[in-house]
Amino acid sequence: MNRDLVIGMAGSGGDGIVSAGESLLTAAALEGYHGVLTKSFGPQIRGGESSFRLRLCTQKVLNSGGSLDIAVALNWEDFLKFGGELPVGGQTTVIYDSNTNVAPDRIPLAGVAPAEVLPVPIEQMARDTGGSDRAKNTVVLGLMSGWLGIGRDEMIAGIRKRLSKKGAEIVERAEKAFHAGLQYAEQHPLKTNRLMAEPPATVAKFVVDGNDLCAAAAIVAGCDFFGGYPITPSSEIMHFLGREIWKYGGTMLQAEDEIAGIGAVVGASFAGKKALTATSGPGMSLKTEMLGLASIAELPLVCVDVQRGGPSTGIPTKGEQSDLLQAAFSAHGDVIRPVLAPVSAEDMFPITIEAFNLAEHYQTPVIILSDQEVGQRKETAEPIDASAVKLVERLKPAEKELEHYVRFRFTESGISPISHPGMKGGNYLASGIEHNEHGAPTANGEMHSRMNEKRLKKFSPLKQRRDLFIIEGNADAPLGLISWGSVAGCAIEAFQLATQKGLRVKLLVPRLLYPVSEQVYQEFFASIKRGLVVEQNHQSQLFRLLRMFVDVPRGIETLAKSGSNPITPDEIVDRLRQISLALQREKHHEPSGV
């Protein structure tokens, strides 16, 4: 019996690969299993290659795992295009369509000896039962249901629900295709048992993806305006709000460009509303001007960057964590903008709520660094209780303050009460020009200095927010593991595995990336002799950012890979083990008495 299985499947765009993955996840989740489903595509709009990987588990997982336990290739050409995203190893059961006319000992996976290789007449069964090769994905669902022992009734119900509009005949054919796969699996047991263990007792989960959940969280946070421009892989946020925001009295504007999208958001915020924009790297490059304006005009807004491979157009459909330095530093001038990053799709809810709260409290733009993985993967999640959400609203001027209102009044906290058009007595001039307390333009050096100080010092309490960091392990552990964003989902699991293996390691995952909280890191590093910073970018951007602000111990190494090169928990554990061995050797060689 298996508690943790990774299934990967690839084919061409018309094969319904993604919908098969979603059906499997939904059916398994209905039975109470946990899962993470990632999808990957070629750049083509139609056709082209398409794949999913689904990790099914009896407990919550935060990443889509390492090598595949079951690989399904509808054709080899498309399967091979995914390379390291669908890694086949010695433990993999490889299923492929026998119509490819490839002998089991000649499959095109060089240097790999899978546990089992099984050609299956998938297309043949689809034609015989479903009447066309379009039923191939349904046959595969039947196969998986049989071999994994899951989701049979749920998938049949799903087929009926999905196809009911197309008529009874289509439903009947699809059911036949499913049963053909199921029957084939029953008649051809796998050499390696792939049956899933019993699911945990409690069912009733949510299935979420980061982009949709971000949009929904924005509505719960009280967001009344979205302005943005279509860009992969963030557009689902705009799509969701384009359907939903009107129901809650809000407005969505698909702007003429990225600049106008965030420009309208700046305007909506000036008018007193909570407002959101979403984009990816190329859009972030265009939005920086407005981020700077929102910083100096002290206007709250939330900007989501669903990161993809960069620079420039880069790899639009694949995730990367290479926008960190841009998020922290891109606008000109002396500026701090809070940067948050969720570690999973589920985490997008609290992170988005937090982003709105920070924006309102500190009167600042806040950036959420999501990525394609977190944004577009589907995962099981605990039900969300919106009534438990605590919302922060911007500090409004009191009645008395409106008698002689001073918008940018110097206060101890650096935060000044903010009015908005329509509020009598609150009239003021917002500007990108340096201004005095009243908002009047100034070029005076002393005033510029004091205003910079006001706008920077207001963030000091933010650095004390330890709840925005995941810190685990013994405080005196000599090995440190640091990671952020979607890759932290791998690091958290690697930390658990390494701890089980007896490594003395502790974990730090910042969900607040900027401003850098020196104190949190210094405390974490106090016991650290050696360690590892894991991230999905080429330059080790977090590592470099930390070195700017914190005394990073010399024994800290990096595990950094460009996007589209998966990082797995096992790989992190291997590196930690090597580092641990090096640390032991070091101790061994230490002269006594030192």
Partner: protein
Amino acid sequence: MSTLTAKPIEDYTAKDYKSDLKPIWCPGCGDFGVVQAIYRALANIGRAPHEIAFISGIGCSSRIPGYTTAYGFNSVHGRALPIAQGIKLANPGLLVLCAGGDGDGFSIGGGHVAHAIRRNIDITYIVMDNQIYGLTKGQLSPTSRRGLATASSALGSMEAPVNPLLYVLGYGAEFVAQGTPADMNGLAKVIEEGIRYPGFAFINVQSPCVTYGQEDQMLKAQKAMMEPLDALKHDSADRLAAMDLAQAYGDKLYIGVLYRKPEPGPTFEYLARQRHEALMPTVKSRADVLNVFRLKK
């Protein structure tokens, strides 16, 4: 909005809209006339200053919101229109004015004008067109005439100017007018009419730059050449006739309303309100949005 309580119209005078900030403009700048005309138009309309949002970009003319008592936003170069649209959509009850120079509107921010027009959000956009970049000390602007020698075109401009009037008419603007501080009554009137128009209104103002402008652009010269459209018996409901007149931009100075759509189209905010009225009763609380994530058999 509970605070939207305008005083009776007769209670407001032009000076209620004038702030204490002293303009940085050069003595004799056309923009002094424009801001005066805006005070007068607003006084006639009679909305309380706190119900007015006045947004600009960057440039000499973009300083203008600060010289009014309205909520002002002196934003960044070329981006006044997107910000103004966000404000109006966030609170359609506000009177939203937008202003800037010809560089702001037809060069760096030129891409936004077309989209503000086709959305037809009820904003009045006043461009102070002086055919030069003044704040950066005298470079070519998008409306500079071909051949003009400036700081950035010592040997003369090699480009034809943008025609702002034809541009906005071409994109389907429903209200298009031109004015000049050389005719203060006419200017205040077209601004007032633009504000009263229920949709996006564009007003081009020939506002001379006394420091870097040409002799034939000064108010005195404008007074001699301006031709009020009323006197020409122009039918402002005739879009093609308006385009015909607009073609003379740069050669002739027509002032008044070139085009006013006889049957105004729907504004974006009107369509949004219809959508709100239809959809808002379908939900009970913001938490309802989470239902889409619930697993259903």
